[in-house]
């Protein structure tokens, strides 16, 4: 970037969040780690639990233009081929994680099926009133999204969960 270029506020905001104590605590605790951030594309690996109880990393691709005023576009990303994750790479087990990572297609792209996600929110306006605690609002931040995803990806880490 040249001197004199005006920094995009979304870029500044994401950089600040990646430097925040909350994000760093999650990294230190092994919950997630930054893979790459070349605005407007952010990639983060999140540590999850497979149905057999073993651990696995799941890569999430975010497009963050307009963040936080505009919701993020989020999809699972392949850690092998650097493209959208294949069905074989999607997490399985608990029905809620399978629901969120079903590879939902809309608007010409693939999206995580979560109320806070850009395309999901745009096509399901009822989610804002039905699931306000899962929807995006002005008080949310990147950590909200990462904690939601970490929670989903570790629903298998529970006695009695599908094995």
């Amino acid at each position: 970037m040249d001197k004199g270029d005006v920094l995009d506020p979304a870029l500044t905001r994401i950089e600040a969040e990646l430097a925040s104590p909350d994000f760093r605590a999650g990294v230190q605790e092994g919950k997630w780690c930054l893979v790459d951030f070349k605005f407007p594309i952010l990639k983060i690996d999140i540590n999850g639990t497979k149905p057999d109880g073993t651990r696995a990393l799941y890569r999430i691709w975010f497009e963050v233009r307009g963040f936080p005023g505009q919701r993020v576009w989020a999809q699972q990303w392949s850690r092998i081929n650097d493209c959208a994750a294949t069905p074989a790479e999607r997490p399985t087990g608990n029905e809620r994680v399978e629901n969120a990572f079903r590879g939902w297609e809309s608007g010409g792209g693939i999206h995580l099926y979560c109320p806070w996600e850009r395309e999901v929110a745009a096509t399901h306006p009822n989610f804002l009133t039905e699931f306000p605690e899962k929807s995006w609002n002005n008080n949310r931040n990147l950590i909200f999204i990462l904690e939601e995803l970490y929670g989903l990806l570790n629903l298998n880490n529970f006695p009695g969960s599908p094995r």
Partner: protein
């Protein structure tokens, strides 16, 4: 901006009672845990003498005289709370159960206990979550309960609810 500790100081991440954001406390090497308590007390708004400092997953508070030297696990997230124990009360189906937990106990630990106490069917158990009493705000299973208890309180009331599965 880097957050590497210098030779002279360390940066410790601290989760303070009732604060949803983790706080960053930088203190000189050679300080004591007491110095973390002093800074945490300022953040929580209570006298440091009343603050207990816990190391990450520990249920036992740290000795305030413990020296913070180069071998100290400063990379662990610490927890600051006034209480040694939180009185947790969980409601479900018209009933309730109570138990005490340290502030560092994870929501998941409480959830597993509540599922057993209320004898939730094993097929339904994975779907159950804990939410703040009277709300549908599910608590992250990996979060420590101290985060949800304001500094001057010692109780946490929760509802056991079925987790949300959006579908449109």
């Amino acid at each position: 901006m880097q957050h590497q500790s210098t030779i002279e100081s360390v940066v410790i991440l601290v989760e303070c009672a009732g604060k949803t954001d983790i706080q960053e406390i930088e203190i000189p090497l050679g300080s004591k845990v007491r110095d973390i308590a002093i800074r945490a007390g300022e953040i929580c708004g209570i006298p440091f003498e009343e603050i207990k400092i816990f190391d990450q997953d520990s249920e036992v508070e740290l000795d305030l005289e413990l020296l913070i030297d180069s071998k100290y696990p400063h990379h662990h997230t610490h927890h600051a709370h006034k209480q040694k124990h939180i009185k947790v009360e969980v409601f479900y189906g018209g009933g309730e159960h109570k138990k005490e937990y340290p502030p560092t106990a994870k929501v998941e630990t409480v959830r597993e206990w509540a599922v057993k106490e209320f004898r939730i069917d094993p097929s339904k158990a994975p779907k159950m979550e804990l939410a703040k009493h009277g709300t549908k705000v599910e608590l992250p299973r990996d979060a420590r309960i101290g985060r949800f208890v304001p500094p001057k309180e010692d109780e946490l009331k929760l509802d056991l609810i079925e987790g949300v599965k959006p579908n449109g």
